[in-house]
Symmetry: C2
Subunit: 418 residues, 2 copies
């Protein structure tokens, strides 16, 4: 296009944009929250424990009372089946897997990981696959841990770079979402999982926070398959590197689910030592509710298929709109994930902030540009995380169309300024 043509295009796009502005929209595509329709599908869970229910867990523990620090046996059994980990290597927590990760990092800061407390080691660092989950970065930033960007390739983090970076003994680990990654929806390939298990970090207190948040969250029948990281680590004798975390937050209720951690026997022991001082036990009635409803892996699968039926049309609207509006323009790139909660959109370099700002001014809130990178700084200012799960389908149509328009405006503005 000539400069004149670009200017004309921009004028026309801006007219279209003004129409959106005049609609006084108030839509939110910012966070990976389930919508009400989806939450309604889990309501029976709440009837599983009532005033007339049996209050005892399978081992006879009265779930109303104190005790059973590491969770009721039937909930451990459920996640043992889901994650392919021995029940003895599982601890059941409260409602937040983020809290489990924060507490583990905090434990490393004050008590180390079989080492000197991290806080007493001077400057320490974490590798950060990017784009990634903003809440992981926030934990690291809060504890003053320096973050090093490791780009995500097609099948997981750039392992050549990772293998280099971990030669520095001040690098203590990394967070990752190995299945349906946040925000790209990528699943680590078998090769990447094997290379992670085979890592030989210089730090002997290196820890990988394996945030398997979307372990059961397939959108379609042909789901991604993730290798069992502990099986691979066993071959390399590196099980102590992995702290796996999962939860029912997006299986049942984000605000009232149950989180779990899986780890080597050695790590389980140090975590329990801390927990024994920290609490007398987590909410066992909620664990009971969940296992009575979900039952086992087959039960979870049926339930997740019901949720997927609600989520598929939402992902389809966004992906169709992207294709219709931006396909072939060269203004953006994206992937079609097989599960998880996000679609990651890469726009022209330097255009993400502008596009998100334009959306905001027209009443559509997106995750802030940059949030998918450490310190909120996307070096190329191009990544936008789309969370299509919360808005109802009709609102989503409007929000997705507006986003495409804003990406075009930002893109054309950029081309004109060059």
């Amino acid at each position: 296009m000539t400069k004149n043509e670009l200017n004309e295009t921009l004028s026309s796009l801006r007219r279209e944009y003004e129409e959106y502005v005049s609609k006084n929209l108030k839509l939110d595509m910012s966070r990976g929250k389930p919508g009400a329709t989806q939450l309604n599908l889990s309501m029976s869970i709440l009837n599983e424990v009532n005033a007339d229910s049996e209050m005892k867990a399978s081992d006879g523990t009265d779930c109303r009372n104190y005790g059973l620090l590491d969770g009721i046996p039937e909930f451990k059994a459920l996640y043992s089946e889901l994650l392919g980990v021995d029940p003895q290597n599982i601890i059941v927590f409260g409602n937040s897997s983020l809290n489990v990760m924060f507490d583990y990092i905090s434990q490393c800061m004050t008590h180390g990981a079989g080492s000197t407390p991290w806080l007493l080691q001077g400057k320490i660092k974490f590798a950060c696959p990017v784009p990634g989950y903003d809440r992981h970065f926030s934990i690291l930033e809060y504890f003053g841990i320096e973050m090093i960007n490791i780009p995500m390739l097609e099948d997981g983090p750039d392992m050549d770079l990772m293998e280099e970076v971990v030669k520095d003994s001040s690098v203590k680990g990394f967070f990752c979402v190995p299945k349906y990654s946040n925000p790209e929806g990528k699943t680590f390939s078998d090769d990447v999982v094997r290379r992670i298990a085979a890592l030989k970090p210089a730090a002997n207190d290196f820890r990988i926070l394996w945030d398997n948040a979307y372990s059961e969250h397939d959108l379609y029948d042909n789901s991604d398959e993730l290798l069992n990281v502990f099986e691979e680590c066993k071959k390399c004798g590196s099980e102590d590197m992995i702290i796996e975390i999962a939860s029912t937050s997006k299986i049942s209720f984000p605000g009232a689910g149950v989180a779990v951690l899986a780890a080597s026997s050695k790590n389980i022991e140090t975590i329990k030592k801390r927990m024994f001082v920290q609490t007398i036990g987590y909410d066992k009635l909620n664990q009971l509710r969940h296992t009575r409803y979900l039952k086992n892996k087959a039960g979870v699968k049926v339930h997740m298929q019901e949720l997927a039926a609600v989520l598929r049309p939402k992902f389809k609207i966004v992906l169709d709109t992207l294709e219709e509006q931006l396909g072939g323009t060269g203004l953006a790139e994206w992937l079609k994930p097989n599960g998880g909660y996000f679609i990651s959109l890469d726009v022209l370099d330097g255009c993400a902030k502008r596009a998100v700002e334009l959306c905001k001014q027209a009443g559509v809130i997106l995750t802030p540009a940059g949030a998918t990178f450490p310190y909120g700084k996307d070096p190329r200012d191009r990544n936008i995380r789309i969370a299509p799960t919360f808005p109802p389908v009709e609102e989503l149509k409007i929000a997705a169309a507006l986003l495409c328009l804003c990406v075009k405006i930002a893109g054309v503005e950029k081309l004109l300024s060059e």
Copy 2:
């Protein structure tokens, strides 16, 4: 008594003891857990949130979903009324007040209390009113904080000594249970509360963990009254010293209740800053369940009176047995608490461990002797914590009688050895 008389007494006591041993008892008076009868009185709470309930909090928040970091407004309002603190100065947590305290100390270790992180300050110390709650001591021991014994007097900790001890800037605070203290059931007098509020510690990052675990836990109509510590602190400008903690653990269910924290606006701000990184929010459905059932202060009072009716006979059996068996013998001293969960028994110096061990060998588990002191070391080996709430009345009768017998045996053994 002559040595011969003592020997005869001991033989007779031992014959009595052997009869208990032959009964193969298996009783537990070790922890302050409610019994089943008491828990059954709270069952309706579980029906307050079911599949047909309204899921929204009073501010419109869907309690099933993410969000509302510091708790639903109606739960804050409930504890605002109970503790006499502005709702803005309250944060609602998960099921464990112990966890709230642990996390706060952990926060001070890694981020300080408006100061250098405690972990980077070298050796730091806490004052410890003794006898006290073993779980408080465990937190301090876990974080390597040195503990200094401050004896409990009739109306609270020895404030003359406390005022001396806090002149050392490495002394960073203390834990206390100001109402119906654990284990003695003492309530701090107005004078003690005022002297605490007026403390001028050398450390500018001094914190008092005001563990108001039994704020509503009266056994009788003429209950103890505790001054509102924040009101007193306001007069001295010392509100930042106090972190108050409370919970419904012994109002509803120990394993599935709701904990709260009350603090100055400045402290609330730093705690929320940490929480924002640590979690997306605690279980709001459980907060909803609890407020719908308990409603307000009047509702809590009615409920607690029902619980007290179950607890009173249990306290009476133990106190009556102590009076019948040990009254006037000079072998033991105890107080009659007006609330809380414990009876504290002081036996002859050097006899607590032996008495508890004798009970154990006859099948009655008590809190380990020494547990009510830092590092598990009772300098006079004389304090025994009795937890009368868990066993049914009939079992309690036997356990209390056995305990008195063991106290006598240990006492006579001691007299004989002198």
